[in-house]
């Protein structure tokens, strides 16, 4: 199992990862408008699997900090998108740990889009399919590291065995000290993409402070689904037992 990690203390916001992702996955850019920020497009799109977030934060002393963050799929170990997908095999986990949407099998039901705790998958209206980061399974397969990691010039991105990546991230957070934390090593059963955050996670726009596996999905999977089988088989079983023990109710003749 592999994992990816972004050390935000080393990120310089160059967008090389964003461009490399578009290049490898052959995703043409959309025409956008100048909104007074480097953040472009404004959010993830059906053809933007990863992108840089830029946000300025001012602390109580008036110091301004400019925070960069690469948004992408976290490849959760307990992936809600994978669990809810109704089309068998349309969302699957690769042997390298990534969660991938099979564009051939996806039926465009958008279930994963609402199940995702990080709001990552997007709906491609042209193809009618959901899309997201694939953790470059098609590069890993060929002994290459993911395109965004390869492109990163400041060595903020790293990729490798998950245990080693987690250890590296924790060591780096410890080295940074202060508010620095590792984000992702523990959420959703441990994600396969994580951050070393030099600041508190609440300061990063669009990043859930405590992402959670949706309660309704748990109820659906662990209660309603098993119960439905009990109910359907129970209804058939009760009917059958009734029939063999009581038999049918037949119309009775008037003189009987």
């Amino acid at each position: 199992m592999f994992a990816m990690m972004q050390d935000l203390s080393k990120c310089m916001g160059c967008k090389a990862c964003q461009v490399a992702c578009k290049s490898w996955n052959n995703l043409p850019g959309e025409k956008t408008v100048q909104r007074g920020t480097y953040q472009n497009p404004p959010d993830l799109e059906a053809n933007t699997y990863t992108m840089m977030h830029y946000n300025e934060v001012v602390d109580e002393k008036g110091n301004v900090d400019w925070l960069f963050r690469k948004a992408q799929c976290f490849h959760c170990s307990k992936a809600a998108c994978l669990d809810v997908c109704p089309a068998a095999g349309a969302i699957y986990r690769t042997k390298w740990g990534g969660v991938v949407i099979d564009q051939e099998k996806c039926i465009g039901c958008k279930y994963c889009i609402n199940a995702c705790p990080f709001s990552i998958p997007r709906f491609n209206t042209e193809t009618g399919k959901a899309t997201k980061c694939t953790m470059c399974y098609d590069r890993i397969e060929g002994n290459m590291i993911p395109a965004c990691v390869k492109a990163c010039p400041s060595h903020a991105m790293s990729f490798g065995d998950r245990d080693r990546i987690v250890a590296k991230a924790r060591a780096r957070a410890k080295e940074l000290g202060g508010d620095a934390t590792v984000y992702g090593d523990k959420y959703l059963g441990g994600t396969h993409f994580m951050y070393v955050l030099p600041q508190k996670s609440a300061l990063y726009a669009g990043l859930p402070v405590s992402p959670f596996y949706p309660m309704t999905v748990t109820l659906w999977r662990s209660v309603v689904r098993p119960f439905s089988l009990v109910a359907f088989l129970g209804a058939i079983g009760v009917s059958w037992l009734y029939f063999i023990s009581r038999g049918p109710k037949k119309p009775v003749k008037e003189d009987q």
């Binding site: 099998k105 609402n114 199940a115 689904r225 359907f232 009775v252």
Partner: protein, 213 residues
């Protein structure tokens, strides 16, 4: 309506063609929705969508069949509300005795044109028609709604499917194997006098008073 009931050779024509059309539209769409829904809910049942053509076609067919199901449940409400929509005192007595199904008994309170069990199933079918339609439409077009609401709808839709699925299994059994002669009412509409007297004693008396049987 009963005044115009046709009789022939001891048979009574108890349902109209429209009633039977509505019944079978409801049944067919419901069975289709049930099986494809099971196929979406359990990957181990994915052979069900597979034989209908992968998952993509059944997904949209499930959506459109849902609209048909909703329309037929509105028709069902209009067609059967008068006879099956209202509960009377004798219906509750019937419920108290379990309709005679729970243990063998002689004195089951006679029911009207529809017994209390049928009335319950009528309401389950109609309410689930609306309920599955509303939750289903939110699931069909989820991007305009709050994710938490959409996720709740998936759960509610599955719960509705459990209730309705269990309901149609029981309904199918009760209408065929459990009560001989009942299926005719929904097949060609002609039932025997004896059947009405056995199954719907109170209604039989009404028909006697009107001189039909």
């Amino acid at each position: 309506m009963e005044k115009h009931l046709k009789t022939k050779d001891g048979y009574i024509y108890v349902t109209t063609t429209f009633e039977r059309w509505v019944h079978w539209w409801l049944a067919l769409t419901c069975i289709y929705l049930f099986f494809t829904g099971i196929g979406f809910m359990f990957h181990s049942f994915s052979f069900v969508p597979t034989i209908i053509g992968g998952h993509l076609i059944p997904k949209y067919a499930h959506n459109y069949a849902g609209i048909l199901y909703f329309i037929s449940s509105i028709c069902a409400l209009c067609v059967w509300y008068k006879d099956a929509g209202k509960f009377y005192k004798y219906d509750w007595e019937w419920v108290k005795k379990g309709g005679g199904y729970l243990k063998p008994m002689k004195d089951v309170p006679p029911s009207g044109k529809y017994n209390a069990g049928q009335k319950f199933f009528f309401w389950i079918a109609v309410v689930s028609g609306f309920y599955m339609f509303i939750t289903g439409m939110i699931m069909w077009f989820p991007l305009g709604f709050a994710p938490a609401l959409v996720r709740l709808c998936y759960l509610l839709h599955a719960i509705g499917a459990v209730i309705m699925g269990g309901g149609i299994i029981m309904h199918g059994f009760l209408g065929t194997f459990a009560n001989y002669g009942s299926v005719s009412a929904m097949m060609h509409g002609w039932v025997t006098k004896e059947w009405i007297r056995t199954q719907h004693g109170r209604w039989y008396k009404e028909l006697q008073e009107k001189g039909i049987v």
